[in-house]
Symmetry: C2
Subunit: 391 residues, 2 copies
Amino acid sequence: MDVERREQLLAVYRDGLLDNTLPFWLKFGVDEQHGGVLTSLDRQGRVVDTDKGVWQQARFTWLLGELYNRVEPRRQWLELAKRGAAFLEQHCLDPDDGRMWFHVTRDGKPIRKRRYAFSECFAAIAFGELAQATGESHYAEKARQAFQKFLDHNLHPPRSAAKFTDTRPTRGMGFPMQTIVTAQELRDSIGLQNAEQWIDRSIEDIRRFHFKEDLQCVMETVGPDGQVIDHFDGRTLNPGHAIEGAWFIMLEGKLRGEQGLIGTGCQMLDWMWERGWDSQHGGMLYFVDLYGLPVQEYWHDMKFWWPQNETIIATLLAYMLTGDPKYADWHRQIHDWAYRHFPDPEHGEWFGYLHRDGSLSSTLKGNLWKGPFHLPRMQLVCWQLLANEAR
Amino acid sequence: MDVERREQLLAVYRDGLLDNTLPFWLKFGVDEQHGGVLTSLDRQGRVVDTDKGVWQQARFTWLLGELYNRVEPRRQWLELAKRGAAFLEQHCLDPDDGRMWFHVTRDGKPIRKRRYAFSECFAAIAFGELAQATGESHYAEKARQAFQKFLDHNLHPPRSAAKFTDTRPTRGMGFPMQTIVTAQELRDSIGLQNAEQWIDRSIEDIRRFHFKEDLQCVMETVGPDGQVIDHFDGRTLNPGHAIEGAWFIMLEGKLRGEQGLIGTGCQMLDWMWERGWDSQHGGMLYFVDLYGLPVQEYWHDMKFWWPQNETIIATLLAYMLTGDPKYADWHRQIHDWAYRHFPDPEHGEWFGYLHRDGSLSSTLKGNLWKGPFHLPRMQLVCWQLLANEAR
């Protein structure tokens, strides 16, 4: 990548984050009254639903803390992160079982808990950033507790958490992936003692159960021993998700200087780019079938914002780690397609939901699922990668 | 409607059912080995998933029984209906709580139960048709039991069935609608004693809680007293579903000769046609927002087969009951759009999932959700309506 291209991209990511994405959420999303963030915003930033997704509360808190710790110590970012953490502590935990809610009202009354436990890992990284920013040990304690709850629930799911019978047990990519990135974040923010063990164990699980040399793909859901489950759910691949996992592993390889990890991550990217890139219209498809059969999920061929974000990070990182021009080419393709279709030139931020052909399906800027996370994380990670290379 | 148009439509529905839809499922779907039906078929009728949806097992059994009882007593239809009922009895009931499963393996091992109870009402009408066809009282008993379980679970949901906390209780259209049509079917097949009471009560619930004169619409989900819940889920309208409910009520008005019921059904259709008809591309949208705000469900603007089926029935019935040319016009619009986009001219049956613009999203002919039900029911109901008018 020549200097000019690098500088240009660096500005797109940095300025996009600081001058576009972040101001959108700070202006329209911050809940001055109750703390936390309102993410269900229309195109212009108007609130269309006051309910709060717990994932998004935790992720925005993490983002603000991360920016404070990594970019610059702006007072506003820290104050809002503290208010987000207070909302999480006061309203997002169910004292009955220590689990976190998934969906609460604006003022924090619980609406729904999920049988899975991902609110917990996002809360862990949010508290971790606050521990780093403030030096206050209670945040570090909260971070460790939330991470432990996330691990415990996934490793020893209570009977009541079962959505399916025991007839066909499964193993998903979500748990090892989120374990890697959460441990990476907590190692960085609070110096989590056993982070490397959790990361190693999770990468080992992915390699052993999900990484399929013979099928040339990363399976999202497999049997307990990694068997292909030849039914809709078992065959459904999620390329953007696997590519997100790929860059977590590449990043670990970069940090440790381990070529083996970089190779694993690049291989995951290679396979899933082939599976997910839409050669007809461009962009990453949401779901595809292992054998090219029809997929059951209705939105399988839509273009969601986040698989594009994750693929932009992964291709850039793969290029910077290997120098392989294939990755520079892929990065250009996905970056250009995404930036041509997703940003809202009029009101800022990105749309979240496009049809397969790139036309707009929904004007929402956020909801319980889309908030200030995948896009600003991409902008931050890519900016930092490019800035570090320049040094 | 002139005689020529009527004859032409009658042939489209009758021949479509007997020469196209039904042969497709009899040829490709019937499970000779275990009984019941395999519905996860690709465009050509090849099985892409051997799992069985319990709704579809019950619905296909109902369809075969209904055809046997109403069209002609073909031995094959009755034999297959009996095998479907045997599969339901032997494999689809959980002895632990008397509830039915939602998803089982090909040979009937349980995979998943839902917190809601709709398998039960589809099983009830299936057993009802077999009672009528065979005169065997144990089928009538099974039908009554399944209907009672459906009612009990919905009227007194167990604590474990709660997906949400008590913070924001809701009331859905699904229960009263399914109560009406199930009671109508069981009145017809087994002479269910209290059918009229359940129908009256359910229509009253719809009128009282879901039918909104001031908002000019039928709400899918409201608060316990019919309040508008001003959040995504509360504002999400399902026009095809409300229109399905509309023709259940119109049909009851027709049977009883009650203009008030016909008026209610037509009003529901009028409002929801305005809400759901896609004036840009044609066809019925899946979900729309009460206030025209963006909808959270990803597939909100896709064109699914079944809302078109239900709207074709409702507009035809409304026209035949009122003679209002508006309904003849709407019927022509929805019929023509659906028949232009959904049928597979090469391999028969209809596709299920189109993009908003009518282009194909999935080549599936069936899955856990789509099976031999909405399309053949539409063909049968419309054929019979037109044939009865001719008499």
